[in-house]
């Protein structure tokens, strides 16, 4: 305990001395911050300096072992570090799928060689990763994927296509599920392979969404050579690795939504007060009051559930089944909230672009459109409900997918 307190003191002193003043009071989240990579962009010089300082301490990946560029912190020490970062409302020095997806997966399933090759560049923000799972013919039925990996000398030749790959056009390496044994039962013939996207034969194309944004890409593989040493978890064992990573992703997505929904009540109220105005001290629309209160109470119930899951983990209780609900509920709540926002704004939320509409109203409309994808990406709500029904509630498998 005394050790932890002296650690807290040390962290606080160091942060007070080193954290750039311009970044204090500007917290980011898992999707807003410095992504790093070969083509890294920094919002400011202080963002670059903040990354360099934290890399030196290993605090871009605080709990990873120091030999792989991490900070070697215990869970309790990391909790203290995160708390101190929040206290100064500092952004994370580095974000990305390397830190939250492939890194933890390599720590669990990677060989010593793989860890030494791939983890340090992630912690230093030098390599940006993306996830190649879905294919045009394999969405919810992910295990039916067809991208082929044919044995050739010291590795494989990859041919096929991935789709819905987040930020592939800005990434350096991709972790892919590929079919190494077409004759095996579908889950059994899959391998998990790492590919450098600078290698010949890899091309990417952004997909424009209904919101106008292009966070997803298609990735094409045309006779791409992959080394055998870049297969993670063993040949034809990729499904096990993939599932572990997906579980990680779903919890992460739920927590991201938990953070992004905070403050929904005030945002909706501000819109409503502008659009409708008060009467006798209350918002002059009883139906709208009810909808805003419902949304606010949904948000609060969701946040309390996130907290309950975290508190149970902190108390050392075995992880319960509750986290399976975060993805479904968090995304659906976000959709209802975005719907309500554009409904309140009325005609002001009908603009697409241009000077005829206020920028904040244009953003509302884009956010609403973007939110429609929340219940599809990262595993559809329907797939999540299948998982809850079978694995949490123990209902019999009837072959229905």
């Amino acid at each position: 305990m005394a050790d932890l307190e002296s650690f807290r003191g040390e962290v606080r002193t160091w942060l007070e001395a080193h954290a750039p003043a311009s970044l204090r009071g500007r917290p980011g989240d898992l999707f807003h911050g410095t992504w790093g990579g070969r083509r890294a962009r920094f919002e400011s010089d202080d963002h670059r300096r903040w990354l360099e300082l934290m890399v030196e301490r290993g605090w871009t990946a605080p709990t990873w072992p120091t030999e792989y560029g991490g900070g070697g912190l215990s869970r309790q020490e990391n909790a203290i570090l995160q708390k101190e970062l929040r206290r100064l409302r500092l952004p994370p020095p580095l974000i990305g799928f390397g830190l939250v997806m492939i890194g933890p997966t390599l720590l669990e399933y990677g060989t010593e060689e793989q860890k030494r090759e791939h983890l340090p560049p992630i912690t230093r923000g030098e390599i940006r990763w993306c996830q190649g799972y879905s294919e045009p013919g394999s969405g919810s039925d992910l295990a039916s994927l067809q991208m082929s990996a044919t044995r050739n000398g010291d590795g494989f030749v990859l041919n096929g296509q991935k789709i819905w790959t987040s930020y592939a056009d800005e990434s350096d390496w991709i972790f892919c599920l590929v079919r190494t044994d077409p004759s095996a039962k579908k889950q059994a013939g899959i391998s998990f392979v790492l590919v450098d996207m600078a290698d010949p034969g890899v091309t990417t194309r952004p997909i424009k969404l209904i919101s106008g944004a292009s966070p997803f890409c298609e990735v094409f593989f045309d006779d791409v050579h992959a080394h055998a040493r870049n297969v993670v978890g063993g040949e034809n064992n990729g499904w096990t690795v993939a599932k572990a990573l997906l579980r990680h992703e779903r919890t992460m997505v739920g927590e991201v939504f938990a953070r992004s929904v905070v403050g929904g009540e005030q945002e909706l109220l501000q819109l409503a007060r502008t659009a409708i105005g008060p009467s006798e001290g209350r918002l002059d629309d009883a139906l709208l009051r009810d909808r805003i209160a419902q949304s606010a109470m949904d948000e609060r119930a969701f946040m309390l559930t996130v907290q309950r899951i975290q508190d149970a983990a902190k108390a050392g209780q075995p992880p319960g089944t509750e986290s399976s609900i975060l993805k479904v509920y968090g995304t659906e709540h976000n959709q209802r909230r975005r719907e309500l926002a554009v409904a309140i704004a009325g005609a002001d939320a009908l603009g697409w672009e241009g000077a005829g509409y206020a920028p904040e109203h244009l953003a509302l409309t884009r956010d609403w459109l973007r939110s429609r994808g929340n219940t599809i990406e990262g595993g559809t709500s329907e797939i999540q409900l299948n998982i809850i029904a079978k694995h949490v509630l123990g209902l019999p498998d009837g072959g229905a997918r």
């Binding site: 009540e265 109220l269 409503a272 007060r273 209350r282 918002l283 009883a286 009051r289 009810d290 805003i292 209160a293 419902q294 606010a296 109470m297 609060r300 119930a301 969701f302 309390l304 559930t305 907290q307 309950r308 508190d311 149970a312 902190k314 108390a315 209780q317 509750e322 609900i325 479904v328 509920y329 329907e382 999540q384 409900l385 299948n386 809850i388 029904a389 079978k390 949490v392 509630l393 123990g394 209902l395 019999p396 498998d397 009837g398 072959g399 229905a400 997918r401």
Partner: protein, 376 residues
């Protein structure tokens, strides 16, 4: 605020689960109903609850309590709710008990609380007069001054939980001269108090009370409108915990049925149309658990302002009443034919959900209160 149980709390919850399961679960309520039991609950079990210290869980030790909180009591109420136990714990410990505990009359506190904790007495609160869903507290009953603090109470109250069995009734009445609301502790056998049992849909004990000049002393006045609001919020949290237990049990009954019942040669639980509905109920029940735990801890937080408890209680009640109704509707539907029969237990949960939803204001009323508290 920590939303996890410690070892002692886990022990209380486990003992409560064992106790009610061992007493015949819903079959006990059915028997009390079918035999038209005049008490409507088990006196023997009541004595056991007192023996375990559960009737005084949130009372301090100087009045015979366990010195714990609403959080611990809610664990017991949740387990009671699973088997639809009709013992008037909520009325005695959270309604009457909170009014005495937080009220301003030391005489009433020290004379009544030890006997409530010891299980010698059943207590309750009479606050409702009208049927309106949008106005859980209605009060036209009056307190007429006789001088030197003594008053006579006049009026009628309905839906008084365990009103016919109560040895102590806390009555809400307005001072005839000032119009100020007050809470008065009235002995159950007071002259001028007429108790008429009501047979309600959930088979839990309940009564109408008529007060025709019931005389009480100055020491019987416990507090005013602020006290009543806090008492109702504490009891609301308790009712939400009970509802959480009841909906969980109704859901588990349904899951068992989905696994066992076969049609078209397979268990009906293998049908995706039913699986997804069950999964959605599970999500909503888990959210209920979070808001109930948070509300109980807010009730126990020493520095929490009344408005914080009000918001937490409204959140817990709005969510649990809505979800309880939805769970039981779905449970009856998924049970199919047997779900329509009196013989099956699931109908008891449906009936209880209706009463719970109309006890401290429905979900829409609590959403409106949330909005008012948040300034819109």
């Amino acid at each position: 605020m920590k939303l996890a149980l410690d070892d002692d709390q886990r022990l209380i919850k486990d003992s409560a689960a064992t106790l009610w399961k061992g007493r015949g679960a819903v079959a006990r309520l059915r028997q009390l109903r079918d035999t038209r039991d005049p008490d409507g609950f088990s006196r023997a079990l009541w004595a056991e609850l007192a023996e375990l210290g559960w009737l005084g869980l949130p009372f301090p030790e100087d009045v015979g309590g366990a010195g714990l909180g609403v959080t611990e009591l809610c664990l017991v109420l949740e387990e009671a709710g699973r088997t639809l136990a009709p013992e008037p714990m909520l009325a005695t410990t959270l309604l009457a008990g909170s009014a005495l505990l937080l009220g301003e009359s030391d005489a009433a506190r020290s004379s009544w609380l030890p006997r409530l904790a010891a299980g010698e007495l059943v207590g309750t609160l009479a606050w409702q007069e009208r049927a309106r869903r949008d106005e859980p507290v209605s009060c036209t009953a009056v307190a007429r001054s006789l001088g030197d603090g003594r008053v006579t109470l006049h009026g009628s109250k309905r839906e008084v939980i365990a009103g016919a069995q109560a040895d102590l009734v806390i009555v809400a009445a307005k001072d005839e001269a000032s119009g100020q609301l007050g809470l008065y502790a009235v002995p159950g056998d007071a002259a001028g108090l007429v108790k008429t049992p009501l047979i309600r849909v959930d088979s839990f004990p309940c009564a109408r009370l008529d007060l025709d000049g019931v005389e009480v002393s100055a020491a019987a006045r416990l507090g005013g409108a602020g006290l009543l609001a806090t008492v109702l919020d504490r009891a609301g949290v308790g009712l939400a915990a009970e509802a959480l237990g009841a909906m969980t049990a109704a859901f588990e009954l349904t899951l068992e049925w989905l696994r066992e019942r076969r049609q078209f040669g397979v268990p009906i639980g293998s049908f995706q149309a039913l699986q997804h509905r069950a999964a959605r109920l599970y999500i909503d029940i888990e959210l209920c658990r979070s808001v109930v735990m948070a509300a109980a801890r807010t009730a126990d937080a020493p520095a929490a302002p009344a408005a914080a408890l009000a918001q937490a209680a409204s959140l817990a009640l709005a969510r649990t009443t809505d979800t309880f109704l939805r769970v039981v509707d779905e449970a009856v539907q998924m049970h199919g034919g047997v779900g329509m029969t009196d013989e099956h237990d699931i109908g008891f949960y449906l009936k209880r959900a209706r009463v719970v939803a109309a006890t401290f204001g429905d979900a829409a009323w609590h959403r409106d209160r949330w909005a008012r508290l948040a300034g819109y």
